[in-house]
C-alpha cells in the first residue's frame, strides 16, 4: 500500500522519523529537471531581452509602475551623476540603497534582473524545508487525527514534486517573465521577500528581522508580514501564543527590537548616503499619498481621478487602511498556521497596494503549488482561471482602444481592472475556505455523520 503516509498502530497513525538527508536526496534527484527549467527560463528571458519587444514591454502600465520603472531608475542615476538630488523633479521614487546598488551594476542590469533565478532557488529551498517541517509536525500531532483523514494527509511521495512545481510556477509564469524583461525593480522586491520567508522558515530570527526590514524599507506594505513571522518563529521555538505568558511578550519585544533597530539603521544609512531627508516624502510619501494617477492594474487610480479634493484625504486613509486591516483578524484565525498566513498577507498586499504590477501577483502565485492538497475543496477554479486569463489579454486591447484608437475610454479599462482584482480576491478567499474546511475535516473527520448515522453536509455560514 504505497501512498499511505504511515503505519497504523493501535488505531493511531505513526510516521517514520524522517532523516534530514531527505533534503540532499531531493536536490540530487531533482537536479536535472531543475537545471533544465533554469536553462529554459534563462533562454526565454535572454531571447526577449534581445528582441524589439523589450522596449514595448518596458512601457506597459500593467508591468511597470511609477515606483518600479527602469526608465525612472536611469533618470535618477543621471541626476545623481550630475550632482543633483535624484528626488528633485518627482520622477524617481526608489530608495537610496537601490540607487547606489544600480550605480555599481547599471552596466550589468540585465544580469541583475535575472535575479528571478535566485528568487526561484530561494522558493525551491523554502518549500523543501516547509515540507520537511510539515512532516515533523504531522509526526508530532498524528494521534490527533481521526482515521478517515488518511486521504487528506499528503504522502511524502506527493509532496516530493512540490518544490519543482513552485520553481516552475515562478520561473515560467508569463507575469514574471514580463516583469523581468521590463527590468522592473519589482523583481528585487520579490527577491527580498523571498529571502525573508526563507530565513523565517529556517528559524533564524535575526536574518528574518533584517530581511523584513529591507522589504519594508523598499515599500511599506510588507510591515504586515511581521505578525506571521513572529507567529512562526514562536511556534518553532515552542513558545505558546498566550497573552498572559511573559515569554510571549519577551519574544515579541526581541523581534521588534531587532526589526526596528535595523529599520533605524537603514534609514540613517540612507540619510548619510545622500545627505538629506529628501527621500522620505519622495518614497514613502509617494506610496502613501498616491499623487500619480497613471492607470495600472490597481484600484486606486480611477477613484482618485474622479474624487473631489476635500474628500481625498478621507478616501486615501480608507484605501490604505484596507491593506493593513486584514492582518489582525487573519492572525487571530490562522495563528496555528503562520505559513498560510504569510501567503494570505502577500496576496492581500498584492491586490490592495497603491501601485500594483503583475510582478507582485507572480509572487503569491508561486506559492499555490504548496497548497495543492487543498485542490479538492476549491470551488471556483474554472471561473477564476477563465476570468484571469481573459482579463490579462483584454488589458492591452482596451488600453489600445482607449489611448490609441480613441474609441473607448477609461471606464472600459477600469472595468477590466475591477474584474481582474475581483478574480484575484475570489482566488484568495477560495483558498482560505479550502484551508479552513480541511482543518475542520482533520478535526472532525472527513465523512461527517449526524448523531443518527446519516450523512451530513458542511455548510459555510
Amino acid at each position: 500500500m504505497s501512498g499511505l503516509p504511515g503505519f497504523l498502530i493501535d488505531d493511531r497513525l505513526h510516521f517514520p522519523s524522517c532523516p534530514s538527508q531527505g533534503g540532499q536526496r531531493f536536490l540530487v534527484e531533482m537536479a536535472a529537471p531543475l537545471t533544465l527549467l533554469l536553462v529554459l527560463a534563462v533562454t526565454i528571458r535572454a531571447a526577449l531581452f534581445r528582441s524589439s519587444l523589450a522596449e514595448l514591454i518596458a512601457e506597459r502600465v500593467e508591468v511597470v509602475s511609477p515606483i518600479t520603472a527602469w526608465k525612472r531608475v536611469v533618470e535618477g542615476l543621471a541626476l545623481l551623476d550630475l550632482g543633483v538630488s535624484p528626488y528633485s523633479g518627482d520622477v524617481f521614487h526608489e530608495t537610496p540603497l537601490i540607487i547606489y546598488l544600480f550605480h555599481f551594476v547599471v552596466d550589468y542590469a540585465e544580469i541583475t534582473f535575472m535575479l528571478d533565478i535566485k528568487t526561484t532557488l530561494t522558493f525551491t529551498d523554502l518549500s523543501l524545508m516547509l515540507f520537511q517541517f510539515r512532516k515533523q509536525k504531522f509526526a508530532l500531532e498524528a494521534d490527533r487525527y481521526p482515521l478517515d483523514c488518511l486521504e487528506l494527509i499528503r504522502s511524502p511521495k506527493e509532496m516530493y514534486y512540490i518544490p519543482l512545481k513552485v520553481a516552475m510556477f515562478y520561473l515560467l509564469n508569463p507575469f514574471t517573465i514580463l516583469s523581468c524583461v521590463a527590468k522592473s525593480t519589482c523583481g528585487l522586491n520579490n527577491a527580498v521577500v523571498a529571502l525573508f520567508i526563507f530565513s523565517t522558515i529556517k528559524g533564524n530570527t535575526l536574518l528574518s528581522a533584517i530581511f523584513l526590514c529591507l522589504a519594508t524599507y523598499q515599500s511599506i506594505y510588507p510591515l504586515t508580514l511581521c505578525a506571521p513571522a513572529m507567529l512562526y518563529l514562536m511556534q518553532r521555538q515552542y513558545i505558546p501564543v498566550n497573552f498572559r505568558r511573559a515569554s510571549f511578550w519577551w519574544f515579541i519585544a526581541q523581534y521588534l527590537f531587532m526589526y526596528l533597530g535595523s529599520l533605524f539603521v537603514l534609514i540613517c544609512l540612507s540619510f548619510f548616503l545622500l545627505g538629506s531627508w529628501d527621500y522620505m516624502p519622495s518614497v514613502y510619501g509617494f506610496i502613501l499619498s498616491v499623487p500619480d494617477l497613471t492607470p495600472n492594474i490597481g484600484l486606486f487610480w480611477y477613484f482618485f481621478a474622479e474624487m473631489f479634493e476635500h474628500f481625498r484625504l478621507f478616501f486615501l486613509c480608507v484605501f490604505q487602511i484596507n491593506v493593513f486591516f486584514y492582518t489582525i483578524p487573519l492572525s487571530v484565525k490562522l495563528k496555528e498556521h503562520p505559513v498560510f498566513l504569510i501567503f494570505m498577507q502577500l496576496a492581500v498586499i498584492s491586490i490592495f497596494k497603491s501601485y500594483p504590477t503583475v510582478g507582485d501577483i507572480a509572487l503569491y502565485m508561486a506559492f499555490l503549488p504548496v497548497w495543492s492538497h487543498l485542490y479538492r475543496f476549491l470551488r471556483n477554479t474554472f471561473l477564476v482561471s477563465c476570468v484571469l486569463l481573459a482579463c490579462s489579454t483584454l488589458f492591452p486591447v482596451l488600453w489600445h482602444l482607449w489611448i490609441y484608437a480613441g474609441s473607448a475610454n477609461s471606464n472600459f479599462y477600469y472595468a477590466i481592472t475591477l474584474l481582474f482584482n475581483v478574480a484575484q480576491i475570489l482566488l484568495v478567499s477560495d483558498y482560505f475556505y479550502a484551508f479552513l474546511r480541511r482543518e475542520h475535516h482533520l478535526t472532525y473527520g472527513l465523512y461527517l455523520k449526524r448523531k443518527d448515522g446519516s450523512e451530513a453536509t458542511l455548510v459555510l455560514k
Partner: protein, 554 residues
C-alpha cells in the same frame, strides 16, 4: 455667393480641369508647386522611398519612390493650433485627374475668405497609401513602418478632420462615401451624418458602398438591399485594409472619410461646381468645430446612409457565439473533474495519472511553430522559390504561404509519432479545454478591435470547435473542418464579396482574385501595419490546428 458664382473663376476652374485631363506620367511636382504658390499657399514637398518586401503586381519593382506636395492655407486671424486636411491622391493615368484640379480650384477660392479659424492643408500624395503613410508619419514624428522619408518643413497644428477626394470624371452622378479604415477602424458617425445631411441639402445624390438608398423598408427586396449594403461594409471592415486614403488618418485619432465621385449614367448629373460647393460647405462646417468629433458612435454598421446598427445591437450576437465556447469548456471541465467510475474491488484506478502538462504542451508548441513558419517563411524564402520555380516573386510568396498552410494539415500524424506515450481519453479533453478557452479569448479580443473580422471568424470557427472530438466520423469531419478553416473562409468571402457587388466572377478569376487578396494582405501588414495577416498566421491558424489535432487524436 459661394464658390464659382463668379464666371471668371468658373472658367479658370474648367481650364484647369481640362488641362489635367491629359494623362500624367509620374507626378508633376514642379508644376504643382508653382500652381499652389500662385494661389498664395505655403508650399512644401516631402520625398519618401520604401523598399517593398516583395513587388506587388501594380508596382512590379521593389523600391517605391515618390514626392508628396502640400500647401498650407494659413488661417488669417487665428492662432495656428488646428488644421484640416483636403487630400487627393495623384496616380498616373486618369484615375484621379479631376480631383487635383478641383483641389486647386478650391484652394484659390478658400484663399480669399476670411472666416477660416483653422489652417487648411491641401495635400497631393504620390503612390496613394504609401505616400499618405509617409506624410502622416512625418507630420506626427513617428516611424512605425520603417519607411524612409524626408522631414516636413512646414506644419499646421493638430489635425482635426480630413477628407480625401477621388474623382475620375468631370461628370458625376453621385458621391460615394467610404468610411472603412485600417484594421476596420471607422470615423465617428457624426462625420458620415454631416456629409449625408449636407448632400441632401444641396441636392447631390449620396451613396454608400456604391448602392443608392431605398425607401421601402418594409418590403422584402428593400430589406435585402439593406442587408446587402451592410454585408458589404462587414466584408470591407473585416479585410482590415484602408479602403481610401482616409483610412490611415484614423490611427492618429483624426476623423477622416473618402469621397468618391461616381459616374453611373443616371439622368441627373452634377458638375464640378456643385461638388466644389459641397466641399466648401463641408469645410465650413468642420471649421466651426470646437473640439474633435467624439460624441457619436465609433462602432457601427450602416445598412444605409440614414440608418445604422450600433455596437449595443451587434455585440450581443457575438457574445452568444462566444458563450457556446464557454459552455462547452465548462462541460469539459465538469467531465474532467468527476472521478472515473470505480472498478470491481472498490478502489478507483488511482494510477490513471492526469495527462500532465507535457502532453498538452507538445501540440500547442508545434501548432504555434507552424503558425510562426506561416508568418515568416513566405517572405524569407521568396528568392529561393524564384530560383527554383518559374514564378514571379508575388506568386512565390502567396504559393509558399498556401504550401505551409497545407503542410500544417499533415501535422497530427507526425506529432503522434513524436509523443512517446499515446494520448489518453483525458488528454484530448484537456487539450480541447485549453483550445476552447484560447479561441474564446482570441475571438473576444479580435471582435473588440475589428468586429467584422471577429464575427466572421466566430461564425466559422465556433461550430467547428464545438463539435470536434476524436469520436466523430473522421473523413466527414475532416472535410467540414477544412471547409471552415480560415483559408477557405477567405476564399468564400472573396466570392461572396464579388456577388454582393453585383460583379460575380468565374471560378478561375475568383481564384486569381483570392491569390491577389492574400498577397495584398501580406503587403498591407508590412506597409501600413495591418493586423489581419499576423493575427491569422500567428494566432487563429495555430488555434485551428489544435482542433485538427484533436480530431486525429489517437
Amino acid at each position: 455667393m459661394g464658390l464659382l458664382s463668379d464666371p471668371n473663376r468658373r472658367r479658370a476652374l474648367i481650364n484647369l480641369l481640362t488641362r489635367l485631363n491629359a494623362p500624367i506620367c509620374g507626378m508633376p511636382v514642379e508644376w504643382l508647386v508653382k500652381t499652389m504658390q500662385a494661389r498664395g499657399l505655403e508650399v512644401y514637398t516631402q520625398r519618401f522611398s520604401r523598399t517593398l518586401p516583395f513587388p506587388d503586381e501594380n508596382k512590379e519593382r521593389y523600391m517605391v519612390k515618390g514626392t508628396n506636395v502640400y500647401g498650407i492655407l494659413r488661417a488669417p486671424r487665428a492662432p495656428r493650433t488646428e488644421a484640416l486636411v483636403l487630400s487627393a491622391p495623384c496616380t498616373p493615368g486618369d484615375n484621379n485627374n479631376q480631383a487635383v484640379g478641383l483641389l486647386l480650384g478650391l484652394a484659390q477660392y478658400f484663399r480669399n475668405q476670411i472666416y477660416w479659424a483653422k489652417d487648411i492643408i491641401f495635400l497631393v500624395n504620390d503612390h496613394d497609401l504609401i505616400g499618405m503613410q509617409a506624410w502622416l508619419e512625418g507630420y506626427h514624428h513617428t516611424n512605425t513602418t520603417g519607411m524612409d522619408w524626408s522631414p516636413l518643413q512646414g506644419r499646421g497644428g493638430s489635425i482635426q478632420a480630413a477628407l480625401s477626394l477621388e474623382l475620375s470624371s468631370d461628370v458625376v452622378t453621385s458621391m460615394d462615401l467610404v468610411l472603412e479604415g485600417l484594421n476596420g477602424q471607422l470615423p465617428n458617425l457624426d462625420l458620415a451624418n454631416l456629409f449625408y445631411a449636407f448632400c441632401q441639402k444641396i441636392g447631390v445624390l449620396c451613396t454608400i458602398q456604391g448602392k443608392l438608398q431605398r425607401n421601402d423598408w418594409d418590403s422584402v427586396s428593400g430589406y435585402s438591399h439593406a442587408v446587402q449594403t451592410m454585408m458589404l461594409m462587414v466584408m470591407k471592415q473585416a479585410s482590415g485594409r484602408p479602403w481610401g486614403d482616409h483610412g490611415l488618418f484614423l490611427r492618429y485619432h483624426i476623423e477622416a472619410a473618402t469621397i468618391k465621385g461616381i459616374n453611373s449614367f443616371r439622368q441627373y448629373k452634377t458638375d464640378a461646381t456643385t461638388i466644389g460647393r459641397l466641399l466648401e460647405g463641408m469645410y465650413r462646417k468642420l471649421n466651426n468645430l470646437l473640439e474633435r468629433l467624439h460624441q457619436s458612435y465609433f462602432f457601427y454598421l450602416m445598412p444605409s446612409l440614414s440608418h445604422f446598427v450600433s455596437i449595443g445591437y451587434y455585440m450581443p450576437a457575438f457574445g452568444l457565439l462566444a458563450v457556446i465556447l464557454l459552455l462547452r469548456a465548462l462541460d469539459l471541465w465538469v467531465q474532467l473533474a468527476t472521478p472515473p467510475p470505480t472498478t470491481e474491488d472498490g478502489i478507483a484506478d488511482i494510477e490513471q495519472s492526469s495527462p500532465g502538462v507535457l502532453s498538452v504542451l507538445t501540440p500547442l508548441v508545434i501548432s504555434h511553430l507552424t503558425g510562426a513558419a506561416l508568418y515568416m517563411l513566405p517572405i524569407r524564402f521568396q528568392e529561393m522559390a524564384v530560383e527554383h520555380f518559374p514564378v514571379s516573386e508575388t506568386e512565390a510568396v502567396v504559393l509558399t504561404a498556401i504550401a505551409v498552410y497545407t503542410a500544417g494539415l499533415a501535422l497530427p500524424h507526425n506529432t503522434h509519432r513524436l509523443l512517446s506515450g499515446e494520448g489518453t481519453e483525458q488528454g484530448w479533453r484537456v487539450l480541447k479545454l485549453v483550445a476552447l478557452l484560447y479561441l474564446a479569448v482570441l475571438l473576444g479580443c479580435t471582435a473588440l478591435i475589428n468586429f467584422s473580422l471577429g464575427f466572421i471568424l466566430a461564425l466559422t470557427l465556433v461550430p467547428a470547435a464545438a463539435f470536434v472530438t476524436p469520436h466523430v466520423p473522421k473523413v466527414l469531419s475532416a472535410f467540414v473542418l477544412v471547409i471552415l478553416s480560415p483559408a477557405c473562409t477567405l476564399l468564400f468571402s472573396v466570392f461572396f464579396f464579388q456577388e454582393l457587388q453585383e460583379m460575380p466572377v468565374s471560378f478561375l478569376d475568383g481564384w486569381l482574385l483570392y491569390l491577389s487578396v492574400i498577397s495584398q494582405g501580406i503587403l498591407d501588414h508590412f506597409l501600413y501595419g495591418s493586423l489581419v495577416y499576423p493575427l491569422i498566421a500567428l494566432l487563429v491558424y495555430p488555434c485551428w490546428l489544435l482542433f485538427w489535432n484533436i480530431l486525429f487524436w489517437k
